[in-house]
């Protein structure tokens, strides 16, 4: 272990930890884009889609639960790892080109094994993306709380004036 650098570690074939957050963070970023698209069109969808009408009836604050979508889309990238971790299929099979459907899993696994420098950059990018998504989600809620406080104050003012 003496004098071992992070780069040497990854060259040795990931003896410490398999870094899988890159796939998850790509998924989380894609999930955030999906959520942003739904957020923009949700009022239009309420008028046209029966599903969204049902959703509004069941839970008027349904959009507050949007991180679930981010998590689900993020999980899509981890499916090949879950498959071979649980022993359904071997690693050789989960690294065929068919599994590129899961956010280019096979391509990135190939990069992880052959190009450790690029892999370390990708992992850093993954960490950055994940931090942006996590903190961005929290900032969204802060904005919602501030909006709700102002809306409630205006509502109570209008009621008092009546």
């Amino acid at each position: 272990m003496v004098g071992l650098t992070k780069l040497d570690k990854s060259v040795e074939g990931g003896i410490v930890v398999p870094e899988k957050h890159f796939y998850f963070s790509i998924g989380a970023a894609v999930g955030s884009v999906v959520c942003a698209a739904i957020a923009k069109k949700r009022h239009t969808l309420r008028k046209t889609s029966h599903f969204f009408q049902w959703l509004y009836r069941k839970e008027p604050h349904w959009f507050l639960y949007f991180p679930v979508i981010i998590f689900m889309v993020g999980l899509w990238g981890l499916i090949p790892d879950i498959i071979h971790f649980t022993g359904w299929l071997s690693k050789d099979i989960t690294r065929t080109h068919l599994f590129d459907v899961f956010f280019f899993h096979t391509t990135f696994e190939h990069i992880e094994n052959t190009m450790p420098v690029i892999d370390s950059y990708l992992n850093f990018l993954g960490q950055l993306l994940l931090s942006i998504v996590c903190i961005g989600t929290m900032l969204f809620y802060v904005k919602q709380v501030k909006k709700a406080v102002i809306a409630f104050e205006e509502k109570s003012k209008a009621e008092n004036e009546k």
Binding site: C134, V145, A148, V149
Partner: protein
């Protein structure tokens, strides 16, 4: 858990996990001290991220994974102290444990935000103090 997940020092993720958990407890402490302050509920959940980030910063700049760490690391949430502490290494040295613990704490943070938004949309924030006073009045 297999042995290859464990090492004799904390990685960046492990340091982030230590900082995140400590930050979460600091947030809970602040929350207990001033429950009526909205800003604690709004910005308090950022403390775990801030502390976790600070705790992991030296990992990006010290390219040695050994236990002899520079003294300046202590400014970043006692980085050299946590780096080779056997108890912390045993728990936070496993990436899966860090992911599960931080993930669950993040879910708690988001859940609190959702409950807060729903509450304020329904009752507003300034009303909460009044309602509490009324309840106390009724009990008395």
């Amino acid at each position: 858990m297999s042995d290859y997940l464990l090492s004799d020092y904390l990685t960046g993720a492990g340091h982030f996990g230590v900082g995140f958990v400590a930050g979460f407890f600091i947030f809970l402490l602040f929350l207990g001290m001033s429950r009526k302050a909205l800003w604690v509920r709004l910005y308090g959940p950022f403390i775990p991220f801030l502390l976790g980030g600070i705790a992991a910063v030296p990992y990006f700049f010290t390219y040695k994974l050994t236990c002899d760490q520079p003294l300046w690391g202590h400014f970043f949430f006692f980085y050299p102290f946590f780096h080779c502490q056997p108890l912390f290494v045993k728990f936070f040295g496993n990436i899966h444990v860090v992911v599960v613990v931080c993930g669950l704490l993040y879910v708690v943070i988001l859940w609190r935000y959702i409950v807060l938004v729903k509450y304020i949309r329904r009752y507003g924030w300034s009303n909460q103090a009044r309602q509490k006073r009324r309840r106390r009045h009724r009990r008395a």
